[in-house]
């Protein structure tokens, strides 16, 4: 009978894939690259513009204080 396996931990699916390197040998964050590659070019451009906007807002707050 198929049923719920009591030995199956609900957290098993959250185990990190250790085969996926987080950093390259020269220190590049590969997780950021994979995240960017998961987007379309239009979404990547939007992300860049949002980053610039965030930095601009931080700069404005800093110049105001």
């Amino acid at each position: 009978m198929k049923g719920h396996d009591d030995n199956h931990s609900p957290y098993d699916d959250n185990v990190l894939n250790e085969n996926l390197q987080a950093y390259s040998e020269d220190g590049v964050d590969l997780t950021l690259i994979r995240w960017m590659l998961s987007m379309t070019p239009a979404e990547r451009l939007q992300t860049l513009q949002q980053n610039i906007a965030s930095i601009g807002r931080l700069r404005d707050i800093n110049s105001d204080s």
Partner: protein
């Protein structure tokens, strides 16, 4: 509170496309379009220096209210002569900084770069041409300025990750 104008690269690209300007996106925005997690505050383009294209580019720049940045209080507008040169025109527009590059690397102009470029769809009615990532890496290697060298590891790893997809 001081408000800082935020660059809108999409607005610049839309305007250039509306005026049917031939250009290739290079530099940081090119890297981002290919998936490299880098940041940049200007849009670098290599434009065709054919006379017909310069006319369209002049109209687009007027629409964008472009002028040379870094000239203090003087407002100097780009002219066809500036845009026909192989030099780099560093402009400020109402949608942010725009660098128009007649030539990059070792003598690479629009015509030479065209075969090393690809089309990218940014929306249903906005299609732009950008340099291939491999060519961008080649050019940054041959330019070898400190800022180019700093970006190279990220570009190389992005190309590697893309090849695994």
């Amino acid at each position: 509170m001081i408000s800082t104008p935020i660059p809108d690269f999409l607005a610049i690209l839309r305007t250039l496309t509306e005026y049917k300007v031939d250009f290739i996106i290079v530099g940081g925005v090119c890297a981002v379009l290919h998936g490299a997690p880098v940041s940049t505050f200007d849009l670098d383009l290599v434009h065709s220096r054919d006379p017909g294209n310069i006319d369209g580019l002049m109209s687009a720049l007027q629409s964008l209210d472009a002028y040379f940045r870094g000239q203090g209080s003087r407002i100097i507008r780009p002219t066809p002569r500036h845009l026909s040169s192989p030099g780099h025109q560093l402009l400020l527009t109402r949608a942010g900084p725009l660098d128009l590059l007649g030539m990059i690397g070792k003598g690479r102009d629009y015509k030479k770069l065209l075969k090393s470029s690809v089309e990218v769809h940014l929306s249903e009615n906005l299609k732009v041409r950008t340099l291939r990532l491999g060519t961008l890496i080649d050019i940054k290697e041959e330019t070898a300025r400190d800022r180019d060298k700093a970006m190279l590891p990220i570009l190389r790893r992005t190309l590697e990750e893309k090849s695994k997809m």
